[in-house]
Amino acid sequence: MRIGVITFPGSLDDRDAARAVRLAGAEPVALWHADRDLRGVDAVILPGGFSYGDYLRCGAIARFAPVMSELVPAAGSGLPVLGICNGFQILCEAHLLPGALTRNAGLRFVTRDVRLRVESAATAWTRAYSPGALITVPLKSGEGAYVADPGTLAGLEAGGQVVLRYAGGNPNGSAAGIAGVCNAEGNVVGVMPHPEHAVGELTGPSADGLGFLASVTGAVLA
């Protein structure tokens, strides 16, 4: 099982995503933003960070990176893709996911261990969880407030595309407390909190985040 981790200029949690992949028993494969090459990986993670300094708008420049011209069609063909934090923002900018991420309600960067409810265990990245499971994962972002128009929100709720919801208070003003969404097919998932930083109690609040990787490992093996 080979899982690619894309490094854009300004990616920060790429090393951490690769570590989580390794801890889950898979092989991390470094992918470079400027290469039009996914190197035959079985799944892709777009990590957290500040790609291109978040200049213009979070994720707005990264979506035009050469690697994205390979990723977008691959995602359309069912490749499991997980965007974490800045990766989520990039997936929204690339229109692989609906909605957008905006400034936190408090207008400040927020680092906090947040309680999350797994609303959908039917995606490529959450099928290892029980529906409704409560997990604790770090959130760390300044522009993490999920927004979408009412029609889109209703569609997400109706279609089971809300993947994660904040369960212990809404830390950033996200619409309907949404912390993660997926595409209609469930292979592309974006989450604002960082499952790759919840891989054990030594360096994180829990090991709850490993379920994301267990999900995709199982998904491809199945």
């Binding site: 200029p9 300004g10 570590r19 400040r108 960067f109 927020v110 030594l202």
Partner: protein, 761 residues
């Protein structure tokens, strides 16, 4: 505009020059003329003015700082010491660590957001220039009264700037300090620390060796930002005794503050590390204060001795800049490298990969002269050592006339809480006071998780970073400062500050190894301030010798004063320790991380001796607004024994919590441990409750011993010659002091957590 060339300078010896406006004294200007044998060109004047500024030359502090190196205890761990960009310490298993703390006080008052942000950027480049990957940052912050309107401007700006820059750069912020005192109104202290890790063989030097080697400037373009910044902001021209409102002075200086681009810094970090790994760099230097002037002179002075630089090759973002401005510019995110000619192509390729602009601007020569040209004409021709070394002043120092009155104002005369109810109220007041309140409002704005190696971060006593995932090797860091102690007695106060940082590292289970410092003082031209400075440095040197930890580097910040009134002398000391296995780390929380099993029932042991010591204490400050008497007595030998005991107990897995006793004494420590871990405690005090709860005697810690480990711990106490007294147990949901009071954790938490949000929104 025609450049002021060397030839023109020689031909026009009598031309008046603005040396005073650039911060040089008449004697210094004459000295430059003597060195050159003519008047300096305008570019040379700019170069000398920034290099001989207090900030770059350490001209007032050098005579005292020599004691730090002279008295440093022998340490096999030291790979590079004072004088380099940062000290380098061997932590074993082939790893070396470099760390340093630096001030950005003045820019952070003028423009809090960018001032603090670029402070982070500057210290990170210092660490990068040593060859290390930066892995964590910390910030020691001091502001005026928490409720003062200007603090409401400065604090959120400073915190926002650190958050913006550090988070975008991808470095976990693992700790630091936040304190308030009226003396910092108009002159906040913003000290940034960075730590980096490398393999032994990766150590880099800042030297331009090998005639013919190329000099490459890479990173950001050069603009007018910060022209005259270091020399003007950190000099008598700022905040001195001259009239005018602080706000007015701030407005006039605003253009001097640099603007940071953390995204570019992130690219620069990755680019440099790839250049180092590929062996493409002979010498490397970061550009900080005094920019190109400082980098070229220091590289040349430390290397073969000569360099030729074409200033017109420096990539500019403002085409109107001339040689003096280019030399003085403090544009951020720039580095300078010395590269063999055959490697220049490969060097530029790596820069292109990371989209970092690079330009060959000169060559190393063997002439012993630093020569700079501007479109073919020579505008600088100086011996680099004369600029890099600078003048040295042994300024008059005399003990302040108010020191005796301060020492005589003993806190013993203050009314003390007599009843359990009054003691309870004092505890709640202390933990709700801005300096001791919960700091989440600040620390939640920092990313402590990125890089995935953060084992402990605030509000723990020390930050702890894993270095090796397989062996568990790690490093612990803590900073500490205490202006009140140092105001009462700078010698003893500095030793107490050092002791606390040392102890904060020790409670995690790490062994303290090395020291860095940032010395924040008023004007060196005031003999009373100079006395404070000399005493503090002497205290630090003696303290380090007694504790067996060398100072590896540091920074001096003078002229911290507002309209003639200096801040408290505030040396901030950072201590680095090595942790053999971070999986055995000890946190401060009763029942907190690492103590999941058997947290309740753990016995609480108070380590060290408690005496009635209230001079400069948090109790006197918060309850009575009092500062007087003598600070607690440092107990350096006891600190050493305590640290040894804590390391052994952690290695044996005997402790479920350990917390250092400092501001607010045992009472505040117990409250913090309860809140951190979410478990209560019951303690019984062996003597006068007030003294036991609020005294700030040094060399003390409170630990929770795992059930079943009591005997083993008792043996360690006896063998380590550390006094220990069992005072209670962990459990319940209140902090209970037998016979005195009980506070439910909910009430404790509400008092602790409400203060900063109420002040800052």
């Amino acid at each position: 505009m025609r450049a002021d060339t060397v030839a023109r300078a020689a031909a026009t010896p009598g031309e008046p020059q603005p040396y005073a406006e650039l911060g040089l004294t008449p004697a210094e200007y004459e000295k430059i003329r003597g060195v050159l044998g003519r008047r300096p060109t305008s570019a040379e004047l700019a170069l000398y003015s920034v290099m001989w500024s207090e900030h770059c030359s350490y001209k007032s502090s050098k005579v005292h700082l020599r004691h730090l190196a002279a008295k440093a205890p022998p340490s096999a761990a030291l790979l590079a010491g004072i004088g380099h960009n940062a000290g380098v310490v061997d932590i074993g298993q082939g790893y070396a660590v470099t760390f340093k703390i630096e001030s950005h006080n003045h820019p952070s008052y003028v423009e809090p957001y960018q001032g603090a942000a670029t402070g982070v950027g500057g210290i990170v480049r210092d660490i990068l220039a040593m060859g290390a990957r930066p892995v964590a940052v910390m910030d020691a912050l001091r502001f005026g009264p928490a409720s003062a309107p200007d603090t409401g401007r400065v604090l959120p700006g400073v915190v926002g700037g650190i958050s913006f820059y550090g988070n975008c750069l991808g470095l976990p912020n693992i700790g630091g300090e936040l304190d308030f005192d009226p003396c910092y109104a108009g002159n906040p202290l913003v000290n940034a620390l960075c730590v980096g890790v490398m393999r032994h063989g990766d150590l880099r030097v800042a030297a331009a060796s090998g005639p013919g080697n190329a000099v490459i400037l890479f990173g950001s373009t050069t603009g007018p930002d910060g022209v005259g910044g270091a020399s003007v902001l950190a000099s008598s021209a700022f905040g001195g005794s001259a009239g005018g409102s602080a706000a007015g002075e701030a407005a006039a200086k605003r253009p001097s503050v640099q603007v940071g681009d953390p995204f570019l810094e992130k690219l620069l970090v990755e680019c440099c590390l790839e250049l180092y790994a590929a062996g493409l760099v002979v010498g490397i230097q970061d550009l900080g204060a005094a920019g190109v002037a400082c980098a070229t002179t220091e590289l040349a002075a430390a290397g073969t001795g000569g360099m030729r630089v074409r200033l017109d090759e420096v990539p500019l973002r403002d085409a109107s800049l001339g040689p003096p401005e280019i030399l003085m510019s403090e544009s951020q995110e720039r580095m300078m490298a010395v590269v063999e000619p055959s490697r220049v192509g490969a060097f530029l390729d790596v820069c292109a990969k990371w989209e970092v602009r690079a330009a060959v601007i000169g060559e190393v020569t063997g002439t012993g002269r630093l020569v700079m040209t501007w479109h073919g004409e020579t505008v600088v021709d100086v011996p680099p050592g004369s600029a890099a070394d600078g003048p040295v002043y042994d300024r008059p120092a005399s003990r302040g006339l108010d020191q005796d009155a301060l020492a005589g104002d003993d806190p013993a005369a203050l009314p003390r809480p007599a009843s359990g109810e009054a003691l309870r109220a004092a505890l709640l007041s202390l933990i709700a006071s801005p300096g001791l309140a919960d700091k989440s409002w600040v620390t939640d704005q920092y990313d402590r998780y990125v890089r995935g190696d953060t084992v402990l971060a605030m509000p723990e006593d020390g930050g702890l970073i894993r270095v090796d995932e397989v062996t568990g090797l790690g490093i612990a860091l803590a900073t500490d400062g205490n202006g009140r102690y140092c105001r009462l007695d700078p010698y003893l106060g500095t030793q107490l500050v050092l002791s606390e940082a040392y102890r904060n590292v020790a409670v995690t289970g790490a062994r303290p190894l090395a020291v860095t410092n940032c010395l924040n003082f008023g004007s060196p031209e005031d003999p009373a301030v100079m006395w404070q400075f000399a005493e503090a440095v002497r205290g630090l040197a003696d303290g380090c010798a007694a504790l067996g930890v060398p100072v590896t580097g540091g920074n001096v910040s003078f002229y911290n004063q507002t309209r003639g009134t200096a801040v408290h002398p505030t040396p901030v000391v950072g201590v680095l320790g090595v942790h053999d296995d971070v999986r055995l780390r000890v946190g401060i929380g009763f029942g907190g991380p690492g103590s999941a099993s058997g947290a309740a029932g753990a016995s609480i042991v108070l380590l060290g001796d408690t005496e009635a010591e209230f001079g400069g204490s948090a109790w006197a400050h918060v309850i009575h607004g009092h500062l007087g008497g003598r600070p607690p007595a440092p107990r350096l030998d006891a600190e050493r024994r305590l640290a040894g005991l804590l390391a052994a107990a952690a290695a044996g897995g005997l402790l479920s919590a350990a917390h250092d006793l400092s501001d607010g004494g045992l009472a505040v420590a117990l409250a913090e441990s309860c809140l951190r871990g979410g478990a209560g405690c019951q303690v019984a005090l062996p003597g006068d409750p007030f003294t036991w709860l609020f005294s700030e005697s040094a060399a003390r810690a409170v630990v929770a011993v795992r059930p079943g480990a009591e005997d083993a711990f008792g043996e360690l106490l006896a063998a380590g010659d550390v006094p220990g007294q069992a005072i209670g147990t962990v459990g319940g949901d209140s902090l209970v002091v037998a016979g005195c009071f009980s506070v439910p954790l909910g009430e404790l938490a509400a008092a602790h957590r409400a203060t900063l949000p109420a002040l800052f929104g």
